[in-house]
């Protein structure tokens, strides 16, 4: 109730809202779900939604690129590929083939923090999907030939995504400059040298360490009977033996940056780019939510301050964008701009920093705050339309926030953020000593 009241205060200050059309977005219904912890440590979350006769099954392994050992960057993602190479009762690549033959989709992805395997199938094939997921969690099989061939595929993925794209290395450059110690320093895809150095022994170790029931959250969302689904989870995933040792969490921390860092790098790019980054907090920290709003106002879309100033008004930049990368451990906010021909990187840097300084000094306007909240409410609804999206939100809350209630609690947290909150976090994080400035210049000089 306090919340609603605060809402009206916010609204009253918004100019030109006499009609009341723009009241706070209606709160979407909360997720109904059942959460079960099995004796082997695996967590299962079941969310019923009978609107389409399909079901989405996701397994979140709490292991990502930040868990990789030095000299083995890219291994978590490479391992994700290997999980499709067969287990005791499933032939190599048969997992995808079986899912396809029942009209389903299957895929996987790896982030800095997690490795996620998912499939969406017509609802009667839920048992089939759980059977295959259990089989590869329990009895993965990898031989040397498969290992070597799949490594070539991953290397090609790196060439496609990173090396064959102008500015494809932008993220890599930002992170290797901004981080000195924490494994966020290296990209999820890893380096070619490290991929080449990986061995079958590494595969065995990684599997025994991280691919264990206590490191898995399975989420099932869609058209199924809850009791029946729980029975299936117990029947298949519940019988995978418990791990003998705890999953290690000894990830090196990033020491606080003491002074502004400035770097100029030469890259194969057609036009210079400028990045201004700041070290920020982690996903789930109370400051994370106002930081999202600050980032949205600064750098999300054409009405954002940075886009308006650098692209629309001054013509300094061809494009400008940014984001607060809020993930499991403290990460970065960054704004980046591609310098228009005839303009200088120095002027672009100055304009980017001026916008960050302005949000520190002035915060955001009532209208900007309200706009962000309305956009957030829309994204919240649109982002929970499909069973796959719903399962993803539930898993994210469970695995990365260690608090499943945030899957819909975030709606209220966002709607309650004040102008003062945004100004405070801008002041906390957008400081000169936390700043990293990078100029990316075309190799061989300006064209």
């Amino acid at each position: 109730m306090t919340r609603r009241w605060r809402w009206r205060v916010v609204l009253a200050t918004v100019i030109g809202l006499a009609t009341g059309v723009l009241a706070a977005a209606a709160r979407p219904p909360k997720f109904a779900y059942q959460r079960v912890t099995l004796p082997n440590g695996l967590v299962a979350i079941l969310h019923q939604d009978r609107s389409t006769p399909i079901v989405n099954i996701q397994l979140w392994y709490h292991v990502g690129s930040k868990d990789e050992r030095p000299g083995r960057t890219g291994f978590a993602h490479f391992f994700e590929h290997l999980m499709f190479k067969g287990s005791r009762n499933v032939e190599p690549e048969q997992h995808t083939s079986i899912i396809a033959s029942v009209g389903g989709q299957a895929n996987a992805y790896t982030t800095e923090d997690t490795t996620v395997f998912w499939q969406t199938v017509p609802s009667q094939y839920l048992p089939l999907a759980l059977w295959m997921e259990a089989d590869r969690l329990a009895t993965l099989r990898i031989d040397q030939d498969t290992f070597v061939r799949e490594r070539e595929v991953v290397k090609e993925e790196r060439r496609m995504r990173i090396e064959n794209q102008p500015y494809g290395r932008l993220n890599e450059i930002i992170y290797e400059q901004a981080f000195t110690t924490h494994p966020y320093r290296h990209p999820v895809i890893g380096s070619m040298d490290d991929l080449n150095a990986a061995t079958l022994e590494d595969v065995r170790d990684f599997y025994a360490t991280y691919y264990v029931p206590s490191n898995v959250t399975v989420v099932i969302a869609g058209d199924f009977d809850v009791a029946e689904a729980e029975g299936l989870v117990r029947q298949y995933l519940g019988r995978v033996p418990k791990a003998e040792r705890a999953v290690p969490r000894d990830i090196p921390r990033e020491p606080a940056q003491k002074a502004e860092k400035r770097v100029v790098v030469a890259e194969n790019v057609p036009l210079p780019a400028v990045v201004v980054a700041h070290h920020i907090t982690y996903d789930g920290h109370p400051d994370a939510y106002p930081l999202h709003i600050a980032a949205k106002v600064l750098s999300d879309g054409q009405s954002s301050r940075i886009y308006q100033r650098l692209v629309y008004q001054s013509g300094l930049a061809l494009t400008a964008f940014g984001q607060a990368n809020l993930i499991e451990h403290p990460n970065l906010f960054y704004a980046a701009a591609i310098v228009n021909p005839g303009q200088s990187p120095e002027a672009v840097e100055k304009a980017l920093i001026a916008e960050l300084d302005r949000i520190k000094a002035e915060g955001v306007s009532p209208r900007e705050l309200q706009r962000s909240k309305n956009q957030f409410a829309r994204d919240y609804i649109l982002g929970r339309e499909t069973v796959q999206q719903k399962a993803t939100h539930l898993a994210h809350a469970e695995v990365l926030h260690a608090d499943i209630t945030t899957a819909d609690g975030e709606f209220d947290i966002f709607q309650n953020i004040t102008q003062a909150d945004v100004k405070r976090v801008a002041g906390t994080y957008f400081t000169p000593q936390s700043r990293v400035v990078i100029h990316i210049m075309p190799k061989g000089g300006l064209q």
Binding site: T96, S101, G103, T139, I142, N340, H396
Partner: protein, 489 residues
């Protein structure tokens, strides 16, 4: 909240496995009780319950198609204008795309930024776009803000101001993007392949967004003239999906679109694009990009229009060949050989016959080997397809169909497709049955007619000095080396 991630899979989806034998020296990594030796039995597939399409007409005669969808308090409103880039005149390729992009760069009393701010403030989304077949203004709005959002959409549709400075800015953005594209092999191939197949004169030989000479020549008056001619009620249709009834939607749209001319006496839609002449012999085009990390390969020719009577057969055929992760092309080039992250194929079906193409980004030093394997599959698909593989592909297409109707956007997309291509009312209801009836003989006949690797264009962007000798040794046909700039003129 969302982290950067690497997906494992290629976009074009998944199918038919070649049952790979288990490799010999396999290590089982963890012991496990024998509860999974048999896969669980499969139940019958669920019935497809398609939501009802309701049809009405706005006061000015514009057709209104609607699907009620009350799960979330949102409404999707899409206004479609027939024609799209197909209406571009010679020398002005890129016009329809630029006009669509200009619609929300100033409309009614608002500037571009004021408009964007007003839309975002309502928690709505508004976008404009143009393809070869049609242009569209699409808006999604919370149902409670719909009455505030529709006038903004009406401004964009009926009262765009086309400010000269915004036109210059958009033009400059597009010209700069064209310069950047010439450094990016994956972008270059997108310009080069259609040009090789369709030539410079046919509209499909140039991307919808156009090239520098035409973009530079377009004036604000050209933009206004194109808009006046084509953004009329007689060329329009409206699709609505969401938390709203037909009567309610009609009343609100009539109110918002007051003043939109009636369809009475409207000029007929422009004649469709002529079918391009089919290629008759295989030809290889190499575009040199020294130091490229990968070679981009596209192989193809003129395909079929969306109106083809063989739609279901071609979906099954392409699923076997390259439409999914477990298709033959990807199994061969990725899984068996590791040449690529993903190889795929597809028919780009438009009002007129768009291209059929197969392609991949491959290791530079395996370019010739990859090309050889492409032709193994393009030739192989013309031989009879084994029954198990056919069944698997049919299941993939038929059983996966219900998932294409999950969200409001999915539903709106399906309605757009029906309207733009004038598809029969029972198109979606009858699709699963049509797929189920596809026979091996039909697939083979279609392959024989539509997949002729010996007559297709082969276009490769890559490091010429490394790849040319191997490609030449394949003796695929006449080989030309064309400079990148040729495709941007």
């Amino acid at each position: 909240m969302t982290a950067m991630f690497m997906t494992r899979r290629i976009r074009p989806l998944i199918v038919c496995a070649l049952a790979l034998a288990a490799a010999s020296a396999v290590t089982t990594l963890r012991a496990q009780g024998p509860d999974r030796r048999q896969p669980p039995p499969l139940g019958p597939p669920p019935a497809l319950r398609l939501p009802a399409v309701q049809k009405g007409t706005l006061a000015n005669g514009v057709p209104l198609w609607l699907i009620e969808q009350h799960r979330v308090p949102l409404v999707q409103v899409n206004v479609l204008l027939r024609g799209g880039s197909s209406l571009d005149r010679a020398g002005r390729y890129g016009m329809a795309s630029l006009v669509a992009a200009m619609l929300d760069e100033g409309a009614g009393s608002r500037s571009a930024l004021e408009l964007a701010d007003a839309v975002e403030f309502l928690g709505a989304e508004l976008s404009t776009s143009s393809s070869f077949d049609y242009s569209a203004i699409r808006m999604s709005s919370p149902v409670r803000n719909l009455d505030a959002a529709l006038p903004l959409m009406a401004d964009v549709l009926l009262r765009p101001t086309f400010p000269a400075n915004e036109l210059d800015r958009l033009r400059k953005e597009r010209l700069t993007a064209l310069v950047q594209a010439q450094d990016n092999p994956a972008a270059i191939i997108g310009y080069a392949f259609p040009r090789v197949v369709f030539g410079p004169a046919h509209r499909y030989g140039t991307p919808a967004t156009g090239l520098a000479p035409a973009l530079t020549a377009i004036t604000p008056d050209d933009v206004r003239a194109f808009y006046r001619e084509h953004y009329t009620a007689g060329h329009a249709a409206v699709v609505v999906v969401g938390d709203i009834t037909l009567a309610d939607a009609k009343a609100r749209l009539d109110r918002a679109f007051t003043g939109w001319s009636s369809t009475a006496g409207a000029a007929p839609t422009a004649a469709p694009i002529p079918t391009a002449p089919q290629l008759t012999r295989r030809e290889v085009v190499i575009i040199d990009k020294p130091g490229a990390a990968q070679s981009q390969i596209r192989i193809g020719w003129v395909g079929v229009p969306r109106s083809t009577g063989e739609y279901a057969i071609l979906q099954v055929l392409n699923t076997i060949l390259g439409g999914s992760f477990t298709s033959r092309l990807n199994q061969n080039l990725r899984e068996r050989n590791g040449y690529t992250y993903g190889a795929s194929s597809g028919f780009d079906m438009r009002t007129s016959a768009g291209p059929f193409l197969a392609g991949a980004g491959v290791q530079t030093d395996k370019t010739a080997e990859a090309l050889r394997e492409f032709f193994v599959e393009l030739d192989g698909i013309r031989k009879p397809v084994p029954a198990a593989e056919l069944d698997k592909a049919k299941n993939y297409v038929a059983l996966g169909f219900p998932a294409e109707f999950e969200t409001s956007r999915d539903l709106a997309q399906k309605l757009e497709e029906m309207i733009v291509f004038s598809l029969p009312d029972d198109t979606f209801q009858s699709f699963v049955g049509a797929v189920t009836r596809v026979t091996a003989a039909e697939v083979q006949q279609a392959a024989d007619r539509y997949i002729r690797g010996d007559r297709m264009a082969v276009v490769v962007v890559g490091d010429r000095k490394v790849i040319e000798p191997g490609i030449a040794a394949l003796k695929l046909g006449p080989l030309r080396v064309v400079p990148v700039e040729e495709f941007f003129k």
